[in-house]
């Protein structure tokens, strides 16, 4: 297999329901890479949460503003960036799920489902980068 990165770009409207399009695309890529069924379900859910968060909090459900999903296929990993156009830093990395902060639940879920996740606020908007590895990086000890 080539070690060259393959990149897929997807733009969807900031309209709830369209995260299903991103989920389907991510599933399709992950299936072809050989991820297990369970892992693919995890990824789909993580992508859904990232997209809805981007729509609601990043783009404030302004349908005209796009959510951009960039998938990078590497030899042993799939990286998925979900980018919005949100102006302010609308997320702080959650350590635990706080029931009072509904907004944090999606982010908490993502953190449990993927191998690596990083939230950042860039000039052009918010970004969440999620990575899943084909051979999971297990913790050295529990």
């Amino acid at each position: 297999m080539s070690s060259e990165k393959r990149i897929i770009h997807l733009h969807i409207p900031s309209e709830l329901g369209y995260e299903k399009v991103a989920m389907g695309a991510a599933r399709s890529v992950a299936q072809a890479m050989g991820f297990s069924g369970d892992r693919i379900l995890d990824l789909q859910t993580a992508v859904a949460e990232a997209c809805t968060n981007a729509m609601e909090h990043g783009n404030l459900l302004n349908a005209a503003q796009r959510v951009e999903v960039v998938m990078t296929v590497e030899e042993n990993a799939l990286a998925i960036d979900v980018n919005d156009k949100g102006a302010d830093a609308h997320f702080a990395e959650p350590q635990i799920y706080d029931h009072n902060k509904h907004r944090g639940m999606g982010m908490y879920i993502i953190k449990q489902l993927v191998d690596e996740v990083q939230w950042s606020s860039r000039p052009q908007g918010g970004q969440v980068r999620m990575v899943i590895y084909l051979e999971p990086k297990e913790d050295a000890e529990n």
Partner: protein, 146 residues
């Protein structure tokens, strides 16, 4: 084009197999718009064929050159535009049915165009120096969700 509204845009590498991402993406949008069953499958196959032609002939399988798939709607149709960057030769002519006495020698591109032509309601193909654009439209069922 009356009231054409762009919904989803996808760019895939020009590598065989990635047309599946386009198929799934278009199907997800079609499902949202109430298209299902035979009509959806027809569109799915047409999208596969258009992407494959773009990958193979338009972009000459150059991995770094994308095929762009745009899904839009207008008042009555779901529209899928497939664009390549015209690195290679493009074949806008329609193909014919298979004659096993004279089987097509490896030119499944013609078969692909033939299928697209018979599967979607309307297809236009425009070849320019900067790329070929396959424009496919399917009439939506009357109860369309906007």
């Amino acid at each position: 084009m009356p009231n054409k509204k762009r919904l989803v845009e996808l760019r895939i590498p020009s590598i065989f197999g990635y047309e599946k991402v386009a198929m799934v993406t278009v199907m997800a949008v079609a499902a949202r718009l109430g298209m299902s069953g035979e009509r959806a499958e027809d569109l799915r196959t047409a999208v596969a064929e258009a992407c494959i032609n773009a990958i193979e002939y338009g972009n000459r399988e150059d991995a770094g050159t994308p095929v762009t798939i745009t899904v839009s709607i207008d008042d009555h149709h779901l529209i899928v535009d497939v664009r390549d960057r015209a690195l290679g030769e493009t074949r806008p002519h329609m193909g014919r049915m298979v004659d096993l006495q004279n089987p097509p020698s490896g030119t499944h591109a013609n078969m692909g165009l033939f299928l697209i032509h018979h599967l979607v309601d309307k297809v236009d193909i425009v070849c320019r120096d900067n790329g070929t654009h396959v424009h496919m439209a399917m009439r939506l069922p009357e109860m369309v969700l906007h």
